[in-house]
């Protein structure tokens, strides 16, 4: 089997020095979310300062990985029909994490007809390349 890096055709995130701790966590199958050290709120996507109290101090805290499905859509028209050929139709989802933030992600491991808004979901990691593991969600077990 060829190396995964040459087989993964879909777009991949390019970590920045700012976001690298998150992707390092993902490699270890941990969902890290920024937590404000001043007001204690969690935020997503990563930001330099807290949108509630403007404090710049934060830590990367591991989230429980549990949440509920806020919304979803089944995509039939991918951005690139070749790269996504094996996926169509696939599910883009918004998950509300237990800790508060909302995350865009893919819902996997669920028959399309069984998807329900507000259903409990949990994180699962999919290794795309050596550097990148993607955080996806599946129905909670």
């Amino acid at each position: 089997m060829a190396a995964e890096t040459s087989e993964y055709l879909k777009p991949l995130p390019r970590p920045t020095p700012f976001s690298e701790p998150f992707w390092e966590g993902a490699r270890q199958h941990k969902l890290l979310v920024q937590r404000c050290e001043s007001c204690g709120r969690f935020r997503w996507t990563p930001q330099l300062a807290c949108p509630w109290c403007l404090a710049e101090e934060y830590e990367w805290r591991e989230a429980s990985g549990r949440g509920t499905l806020y919304s979803f859509t089944v995509i039939h028209r991918p951005p690139d029909p070749v790269a996504f050929a094996g996926d169509v139709p696939y599910v883009l989802a918004v998950v509300e994490l237990e800790e508060g933030p909302f995350m865009q992600t893919n819902l996997v491991g669920c028959p399309l007809e069984a998807i329900r808004i507000d259903m409990p979901v949990e994180v699962t990691f999919e290794r795309a390349t050596e550097e990148i593991s993607l955080y996806k969600f599946r129905p909670a077990r």
Binding site: L12, P13, P15, W52, F72, T73, L92, Q104, N106, I117
Partner: protein, 412 residues
């Protein structure tokens, strides 16, 4: 108290809107539109002192997003000094937002005459791929395989869950809008349709529940609009259309943050700023005769009716299904075919107020034999002219939920 009628729209123009631009640039469309709008007003380029421009494919611009330096090409390109210059700050910038900015500059006395210019032409895409600007190129979004319609589909699905909105209701608003383009010779989708709700529902699925006929076009074209002082406007060729008021709100980074019906960061789409814009204009919703929504996707058109107060929260679906949005209804929407069927050149918000101006002036091109002289039949199979409109509303929206702007326009 209505605001002073001291700034007026005096010239408008749209170029040919097409899905095959044959290599023309955004600048080419923009310049054609600018010349056309000046001619419409009976003004010359040397009369222009202020400029608000958004153009794609301008080879002299150093690079995308290099704001000031790109803008500084304008006086050179046009061969005139520019005394007030600004650019679009978001995708919806050239429409109502630019008109409100220009009104302020004119009201302050900084300039007398302003041109707002829009032009866009896109290179052809490799077979099968969607256009690159639909890829939601963000570190935490793009890998999911999201495309712009999917971001609106997320909102649609939640709206359905929360308010009982149905795919039939989404289809209904697209039918209304698209059937205006069917009888608009200037629309990209001229002579396509008329459509039924079933036609829209059974068209190709893009991102559930949005079918291709519930989504914006992708095409090229340009438009321009000229504004000046009320005093000067009275001596020009066309009846002035006054800017009564409006409002603008930015909310959150679209396609990066999840689109939510209720924002937990950045605040909700505020009814207060909508009320403020209406108060500034001194009108109520029932005074509005033409409603030019920014209808990029069926759900977004439907939700704007709620966000702007034409109906209550969650009531957009039922409103879309009755006759209220038709040309003889309470709130005729997107009378030219809108972003879904007139033109969506990527940043088409300027087309909304241009269509509003044309309705107010009675310059509506359709299939009525006498349209060119303003003689309309009001037979809705061939006529898309609203009866005797006096006040019009034009929106320019950005992301799915949260940000956008509008202006309210009136004729004498």
């Amino acid at each position: 108290m209505p605001g002073p009628r001291d700034a007026a729209i005096v010239g408008v123009h749209t170029t040919h809107q097409t899905r095959d631009s044959g290599g023309r640039t955004g600048l080419s469309y923009g310049l054609e539109a600018l010349r056309g709008a000046l001619d419409d007003a009976g003004l010359e380029l040397k009369d222009v002192q202020g400029l608000f421009a958004q153009l794609s494919g301008w080879p002299n611009a150093p690079s995308e997003g290099s704001g000031y330096y790109a803008m500084a090409n304008w006086p050179y390109q046009l061969g005139i000094p520019i005394n007030w210059l600004t650019g679009a700050v978001n995708a919806a910038g050239t429409g109502a937002a630019a008109i409100l900015d220009a009104t302020a500059a004119i009201r302050m006395g900084s300039v007398d005459t302003v041109a707002i210019v829009l032009g866009a032409a896109r290179p052809a895409q490799p077979t099968g791929k969607t256009a690159p600007w639909t890829w939601n190129a963000h570190e935490f979004t793009q890998w999911t395989g999201s495309i712009t319609p999917a971001q609106f589909a997320l909102v649609a699905r939640r709206h359905m869950h929360q308010y009982g909105t149905t795919p039939e209701q989404l289809a209904a608003i697209s039918v209304t809008i698209r059937n205006h383009a069917s009888i608009n010779p200037a629309a990209v989708m001229f002579q396509r349709g008329p459509y039924t709700v079933d036609d829209v529902l059974s068209s190709r699925m893009i991102a559930e529940p949005l079918t291709v006929l519930m989504c914006a076009l992708v095409n090229d074209g340009g438009g321009a609009l000229i504004m000046t002082t009320a005093e000067r406007a009275r001596s020009l060729r066309k009846p002035p259309v006054y800017v009564l008021g409006g409002a603008d709100q930015l909310s959150y980074p679209a396609y990066a943050e999840a689109p939510l019906l209720k924002r937990h960061v950045g605040g909700d789409f505020s009814r207060e700023w909508v009320a403020r814009g209406f108060a500034q204009a001194g009108v109520g919703h029932d005074d509005i005769d033409v409603v030019e929504l920014y209808d990029g996707f069926a759900i977004w058109a439907l939700m704007q009716l709620e966000l702007f107060g034409f109906c209550g929260e969650g009531e957009g679906g039922p409103l879309a299904q009755g006759n209220d949005l038709e040309l003889d209804g309470r709130f005729p929407v997107c009378t030219d075919g809108g972003c879904q069927a007139f033109s969506h050149n990527g940043t088409p918000s300027l087309f909304r107020p241009i269509e509003a101006v044309r309705q107010l002036r009675g310059e509506v091109m359709d299939l009525c034999p006498g349209w060119a002289t303003g003689d309309h039949t009001y037979d809705r199979s061939i006529c898309r002219k609203v009866r005797d409109p006096k006040i019009a509303f034009a929106a320019g929206m950005g992301p799915p939920t949260g940000g956008g702007n509008f202006c309210i326009l009136a004729r004498d």
